[in-house]
């Protein structure tokens, strides 16, 4: 899995949210669960009212946030937010909500084909991050969808980027390559 570390400035996302267990209705990789329904609602709004969202930053890129609240570990319910990035907020339609992401350092992974439907979160949080000497605060993660995503019916040909926010690097950590030697 391809990865890189990136630093971002503050990001302003405009979109729609859902809180709960999104798979209550249906758990397949279809548009029939709450995440699919959320995307459908948002894309319908975008196509009908494209001009009502101002200062788009980059067309054809959309984000899905998974936000873990305090009660998430107990109930398995979490927030899902889908939206687009804007440069600044102006005359925002009442139907839209806003997320402001602070400047942050992310580990970015390109998920391809079958990886999209796999337990990539575990692979990143439980394997990649600790091996690379990083920690995640597990408060949220971002999926970035651009023209390389071909729809839920075509996952095999699609690419999705995952942004995992990093806590400051552990003081005594070593880099990825030397980890094996240091353990031996």
């Amino acid at each position: 899995m391809e990865s890189k570390i990136v630093e971002t400035q503050q990001m302003i996302l405009v979109g729609l949210g859902f809180y709960g267990d999104p798979f209550r209705l249906s758990a397949g990789w279809t548009e029939e669960n709450e995440i699919g329904r959320l995307w459908n609602r948002f894309m319908a709004f975008l196509s009908q009212h494209h001009d009502r969202i101002k200062h788009f930053k980059g067309e054809r890129v959309a984000y899905e946030l998974q936000i873990y609240h305090e009660d998430t570990p107990r109930t398995g319910e979490f927030e899902v937010f889908v939206g687009v990035e804007v440069e600044e907020l102006e005359d925002l339609p009442i139907e839209m909500s806003v997320k402001i992401l602070p400047p942050a350092t992310y580990a970015v992974f390109a998920l391809e084909g079958e990886q999209i439907g796999s337990d990539w979160y575990l692979m990143i949080a439980a394997e990649w991050l600790p091996q690379a000497g990083y920690e995640s605060d597990h408060k949220y993660s971002i999926q970035r969808y651009d023209e390389r995503f071909k729809g839920v019916e075509n996952l095999a040909e699609s690419v999705v980027e995952v942004y995992m926010p990093l806590s400051p690097r552990l003081p005594n950590s070593r880099n990825h390559g030397s980890l094996k030697n240091s353990e031996a």
Partner: protein, 286 residues
């Protein structure tokens, strides 16, 4: 497809910790999945959210405790991690439609409504999926005539009854309407200890039937959810568990009668080989 053995580990973890402060994150850890992925695959495998399953299992066990012991309601609630009597009563009423105190005072909860622990057999059965999407069917009032028995042993008692009914049907053929054959199970209050009534029957043309052993049963107009059970009759409980614990609550509907109606078309149920597909109808409140 989710790995059912791993989902089973999460279910084992729930069973071992019904009285402990279990979280969905803990269930995910037991299965070895991330929380997000676990929520998805648990739903795929069981058709319940992990939290809903945990709550239904806890509530069902509290019901058993209330029926079997003299423990105070609040103590039972606290034992099973409900942090206040109010939270407990609300959750209990949502699942069983009565308050725990009403049930204690002689109310009745059909044990079909107590969520069983889902076994690997349940998960494998759900994953086959053929019977999971019922259609609604309406039926006109009619009169059934047939033979009735009290069933304690599913396979033996029912097989015997169908053999006897086949003889009656052959003898009195002209008095029955050509049409579907029915097996109607009536889970009347207390069936758990005494067995359930089972009627093997066919529709009469409305005239009196002369066989002395025959029972007449008028059937009202019904709206039913129609499912198909695949496999041996001994596994019928897998289908019924799915209907009562997963499909009915999810669809937001309740059964109008404690009946499970088997609908056999024009043929009698196969006498020797029970590895068949059985059409099952559950009457609904509309």
């Amino acid at each position: 497809m989710p790995d059912l053995a791993l989902i089973s580990k999460a279910i084992d973890f729930v069973e071992d910790n019904l009285q402990e402060p279990v979280t969905v994150a803990g269930m995910a850890d037991a299965a070895g999945y991330s929380l997000y992925y676990f929520c998805r695959v648990f739903n795929q495998a069981t058709h319940h959210t992990p939290y809903d399953y945990l709550m239904r299992r806890r509530l069902s066990e509290t019901t058993r405790a209330l029926l079997r012991t003299d423990q105070k309601i609040i103590d039972v609630a606290l034992d099973y991690q409900f942090n206040s009597p109010e939270t407990y009563s609300r959750a209990f009423k949502r699942m069983f439609d009565i308050q725990p105190s009403q049930m204690r005072k002689g109310g009745y909860i059909d044990s079909h409504r107590l969520m069983p622990r889902l076994t690997l057999a349940h998960l494998e059965y759900i994953s086959q999926g053929q019977y999971l999407k019922p259609v609604l069917v309406e039926s006109e009032p009619c009169q059934l005539a047939g033979l009735m028995t009290l069933v304690r042993d599913d396979e033996r008692d029912r097989l015997q009854l169908w053999q006897l009914f086949a003889e009656e049907l052959a003898r009195l053929q002209e008095q029955f309407k050509p049409g579907p054959i029915y097996g109607v199970a009536n889970y009347a209050e207390g069936w758990e200890s005494s067995g359930y009534q089972y009627l093997a029957a066919a529709e009469t043309g409305g005239q009196t039937i002369s066989g002395t052993a025959l029972v007449l049963k008028p059937m009202p107009r019904l709206t039913c959810a129609r499912f198909f059970h695949k496999g041996p009759i001994a596994d019928l409980s897998l289908t019924l568990d799915y209907i009562y614990h997963t499909w009915l609550p999810k669809a937001g509907v309740s059964a109008s009668h404690p009946w499970v109606i088997e609908h056999y078309g024009h043929d009698l149920p196969p006498a020797s080989d029970w590895q068949s597909t059985i059409e099952i109808r559950i009457p609904l409140i509309t």
